[in-house]
């Protein structure tokens, strides 16, 4: 019997109060954004934000708890923008959204930072102290190496393959320092938006496998903004070291995803992006549950180890009231299915 797990890959919107406090503490300009060396007042504010995120998720009844990534000013480019080997360049568009991040220009050998591990340690402490957290465990989130390399500008390695491998080694080093986590989400939207060229698929999947190999946790390679190309999909199933591939089922081309799974098989577990992270319309739990059953019914396999019920994208696009409503919808949908 397939286990249904309600979870999110994080990147939540800051609570409105923290939006104001942090912009007062940090400023509005490019140079004011997070560098990983923030002062006491800012650290304290983010500690509060993190605690709120944990409470929100426990209130909703999610099965896995995310740190929430409130500090990630540059969205999934964050692990690089706080790295010593990186100088931040101009403000550039974040995928096809009306959102922007600082272009991380890699100018030196990428080396271990431990920035994300520190956040996860703090989340672990919060979970240990929280009421009603007995059944909940931690889900860690990182950008996948393919997307992170795509979002960055390489001014040091000067070779695409070498750069991708270096980013993968860097992320693997970060994972090695993580506290215990049940699941690791590797976010890989670039696999959809700017897929590897013909023949370069294996290099991308090798990079992902390098990161995945560093943890004993379930590894979910979460893709979004649409369906994967079929050839790349087949490579990912076989070579990426993923326990689950994640799909955007909100996107209009979801039939292509069904086709991929029917044609090329699947990982032992699946992660389904079911609620729209970019629209304030809140899905009914029954609707979400129907989407899970619809997808599973299309698949010729006997069942999976796990189906993750997730939003299709990060949730920072939403106002805070709607982000919380989306958490509730996911958790309630898992209940409906049980």
């Amino acid at each position: 019997m397939t286990e249904r797990v309600a979870a999110t890959p994080g990147l939540y919107p800051l609570p409105d109060r923290a939006k104001e406090t942090l912009s007062d503490l940090k400023g509005h300009q490019k140079g004011d954004l997070l560098g990983g060396d923030e002062g006491e007042a800012i650290v304290a504010e983010y500690d509060e934000v993190r605690a709120e995120y944990v409470d929100h998720q426990l209130d909703a009844g999610l099965d896995l708890i995310s740190e929430g990534q409130g500090r990630w000013d540059d969205m999934i480019a964050h692990p690089l923008t706080v790295s010593d080997a990186v100088e931040t360049g101009g403000i550039v568009r974040y995928y096809d959204n009306n959102n922007f991040y600082r272009d991380p220009r890699v100018v030196d050998d990428l080396a271990f930072s431990g920035d994300v591990a520190d956040e996860l340690e703090k989340a672990t402490d919060l979970l240990a102290d929280a009421d009603g957290a007995a059944d909940a465990s931690l889900a860690a989130t990182l950008p996948g190496p393919y997307s992170l390399a795509e979002l960055a500008t390489d001014e040091h390695y000067r070779d695409e393959a070498e750069f991708q491998a270096a980013v993968a080694e860097f992320l693997a080093g970060e994972v090695a320092a993580f506290p215990d986590h049940e699941t690791l989400f590797l976010l890989e939207p670039s696999l959809v938006t700017t897929p590897p060229v013909e023949g370069a698929e294996e290099r991308a999947t090798d990079a992902i496998a390098t990161v995945a190999a560093e943890t004993d946790a379930d590894v979910v390679v979460q893709t979004f903004y649409g369906a994967l190309g079929e050839k790349l999909y087949a490579h990912l199933v076989d070579e990426a070291g993923a326990d689950a591939l994640g799909f955007d089922l909100v996107a209009g081309d979801r039939d292509d995803t069904v086709y991929n799974v029917q044609e090329f098989g699947a990982t032992d577990s699946l992660s389904l992006g079911l609620v729209d992270g970019q629209n304030t319309l809140v899905e009914e739990p029954e609707t979400v549950a129907e989407r899970v059953e619809w997808f599973e019914s299309q698949i010729p396999l006997e069942g999976f180890d796990r189906t993750y019920l997730t939003p299709n994208t990060e949730l920072f696009y939403l106002p805070t009231n709607k982000y919380r409503a989306k958490l509730n919808a996911l958790a309630a949908a898992a209940e409906v299915l049980d």
Binding site: K26, H28, L33, N99, F100, N279, L281, F316, P319
Partner: protein, 357 residues
């Protein structure tokens, strides 16, 4: 197809215009708010303050009068109130259109947020959006007043769409509402309307949706009314020459920011609406010299004759310090008048306007 810009251009030529040649000078719209107005906007929300909504209205009136006159002092042929009453280009309209609701700010980048509204039911026209604003400004202005309106494509795509099967359908409904508003503005005496569609720059593949929306906006609007379209910060080769089919009189572009690298895009085929050329950068705090702006104006003459050339800043100037915004506007008008005189004197070769540079 393109409207008839030559049918409405001359009404903006001042009676005392000094030159034979007339390059229409204008602005895109927004202008830095005086600091006291920002304070007033905050004060009205402070429960401990006696400053109330009618005080704020008075402050807005004062600011509109001030900036309209500032535009006139700079010598512009057509003026705007600097959008002193508006907070943000989507929010302001969403607040006035039935069908939108606000849930709170969302991130744009870093700690910059925007109160992105949600469309939760069919949009509908309630009260006029801009007629009062126009009537006030026209009442205090000596020069003709231009009215900038955020376009339906941007109003649709920069909101969450909860209610419509596709955002395209939402855009068409919004276009019908904009048409209704433009009709009311025309009735109130407006003769120069500018539709702002910055969202088109980020998704140029949607140019046909914008074209259809403009058809709806322009339907039934008489030809003495000048309709402009402003699009900024994009790759214009992806919407040109398609925009030649838009029912507009004028296409307003930001080109100074890219140092006119994109001007050749408009060499072939010939541009059909009038060209409103951005000649000062809205995002640098240095005031361009008159000489530099004159060279920028000549860039426009590479692709249109003087009678089809309008001159404006690249974009709204609201993010600049106010003295810089004024300096740019004043130098721009000086440069326009000098170029006109040089054309009259035969000093600029219109077949090769950059010669002698």
């Amino acid at each position: 197809m393109v409207r008839n810009p030559s049918a409405n251009r001359d009404q903006f030529r001042p009676a005392d215009h000094p030159n034979e040649t007339f390059l229409l000078s204008t602005v895109v719209g927004s202008y830095p708010k005086p600091k006291w107005l920002n304070r007033a906007d905050e004060l009205v929300d402070d429960p401990d303050s006696k400053f109330d909504a009618s005080d704020l209205e008075e402050a807005h009136d004062d600011a509109c009068r001030l900036i309209t006159h500032e535009h006139e002092r700079a010598g512009l042929d057509t003026v705007v109130d600097g959008e002193m009453r508006r907070n943000e280009m989507v929010e302001f309209f969403a607040d006035r259109i039935d069908g939108y609701e606000f849930n709170g700010p969302v991130k744009v980048w870093g700690h910059n947020y925007f109160d992105k509204p949600s469309v939760v039911e069919e949009v509908a026209y309630d009260e006029p959006w801009l007629v009062d604003e126009f009537e006030f400004t026209a009442g205090v202005a000596e020069r003709p007043v231009k009215v900038p309106i955020t376009g339906p494509y941007t109003l649709g795509f920069w909101a969450f769409n909860e209610a419509y099967p596709s955002t395209e359908e939402l855009v068409y409904d919004l276009a019908d509402l904009v048409n209704e508003e433009v009709e009311k503005l025309v009735e109130a005496g407006a003769r120069y309307i500018q539709i702002d569609e910055p969202a088109l720059a980020t998704t140029p593949e949607d140019h046909a949706i914008v074209g259809e929306a403009l058809e709806r906006i322009a339907a039934g609007i008489p030809e003495e009314v000048r309709i402009g379209l402003h699009v900024c910060y994009g790759d214009y080769s992806r919407v040109y020459p398609e925009i030649n089919d838009y029912p507009i009189d004028e296409f307003d572009l930001e080109l100074s920011n890219g140092d006119y690298e994109q001007i050749p895009v408009f060499e072939e085929p010939e541009i059909e609406p009038d060209l409103a050329l951005g000649v000062v950068d809205a995002h640098t705090a240095e005031v361009e010299s008159v000489e530099e702006i004159k060279r920028n104006i000549r860039q426009g003459l590479r692709v249109v004759p003087p009678e089809k050339l309008t001159i404006s800043p690249d974009c709204g100037l609201k993010l600049l310090p106010r003295d810089v915004a004024y300096g740019k506007t004043e130098n721009m008008v000086t440069a326009v008048r000098e170029v006109e005189a040089e054309i009259d004197a035969g000093e600029i070769d219109l077949d090769n306007p950059l010669a002698d540079d």
